[in-house]
Symmetry: C2
């Protein structure tokens, strides 16, 4: 599948891109500046022995069948504004957590209650918007040897889009779990500060969550 990663030059983008490229997907690394996107795509390709392209964020959307947005919350609104016209009816996954440094271990609700709900307000109600991947350590993603024992909660108002994302998440070596409507992103996003607290409290480098009481495979 053609996957474009908006804001893909950071640590999350690197981990996602490498795992998906290794699983056989066609990756495009987007950045605000086209040169940076291209340079990072070349760097990731060399580092992990895979092949991917890069350029600006709008090109990442145009290239993609599935769009991933991974930017710091401070760049969230601006980024969605900048790609709005290029999204169309493609499935777009917002993985943003609205952390408020330095209090990253305490839940902070943004004005729109969730970053994903703010993204919907910018893209419009018809956008095929999904929120997911809030609880995965970029360090673990970037280590091809690392085996996850946690799940990925996936929410969005378009059920078919959720199914698509759950399938693509499995190519990262993770189980995706259907978490319901987009509004449930409030729960998903606000769980990240809790996990950051747990990391510090229990000396973990990457705590996660697993859903119990459902069949192991779906």
């Amino acid at each position: 599948m053609k996957i474009g990663i908006v804001g893909g030059t950071g640590r999350e983008g690197r981990g996602l891109a490498v795992r998906w490229a290794e699983a056989g997907h066609d990756l495009f690394i987007g950045s605000r500046r086209a040169e940076k996107g291209s340079a990072k795509a070349a760097e990731f390709s060399r580092e992990f022995g895979v092949s991917m392209q890069g350029g600006d964020n709008v090109s990442a959307c145009n290239h993609a069948e599935l769009i991933i947005v991974t930017v710091p919350y401070s760049a969230h609104g601006h980024t969605f504004e900048s790609i709005k016209e290029a999204v169309g009816d493609k499935v777009i996954v917002d993985i943003t957590v609205p952390l408020q440094p330095p209090k990253v271990r305490s839940v902070h609700l943004p004005e729109g209650q969730a970053a994903a709900l703010e993204a919907r307000a910018l893209l419009g109600e018809s956008a095929r918007l999904v929120a997911a991947l809030h609880h995965i350590s970029s360090e673990h993603l970037s280590d091809p040897e690392y085996t996850f024992d946690c799940d990925v909660l996936v929410c969005g108002d378009d059920r078919e889009a959720r199914v698509t994302v759950i399938r693509i998440v499995s190519d990262l070596g993770l189980r995706g779990v259907d978490a319901g409507v987009l509004r449930n992103a409030i729960a998903l996003e606000s769980l990240t500060p809790v996990l950051l607290h747990i990391n510090r409290r229990y000396g973990s480098v990457g705590s996660g969550i697993r859903i119990t009481g459902i069949p192991e495979t779906q």
Copy 2:
């Protein structure tokens, strides 16, 4: 330990009381009406072959070293008002989830962002308030043979109170995990609608969460 359960006549109260009584704790079932509290305490005692007392909610608080509040969200504010004077510096655990029927599978944030934050506003900043036990099926609690494979997230601003609650949760046959400040109740409470969605989506009678990436025992 002396445990008083405010609103303890419902399904959650029954499950908690029975498990704790079997673990050797001294239980008091509170209700708005003293007669109902007494009657339910007698009923639970007969049904499970344990011994516990009952009466009104204020008596439950007066009797207790540790207070549990389990009421529907619609009775939450009124209940905290009614016991306010009886709480003092005792540890009090709010397990309320602000569900909004009939849309119980979609996150609903109350005016104060979390029931537990609203409880703090009513009790005052000095209250030793903890939020926990939002994700445990009352059906499973009431079945003494059932073995849990999920965790209980415990948050509150008083670390010592969190430790007390984590300890008492272990007597239910559950692992408590320190989830940080009381504000993180936003995440804990809003995860319940997600689990209710997952129950329906995957045909589960009681999905739960487990924290991965931390030591098995603390």
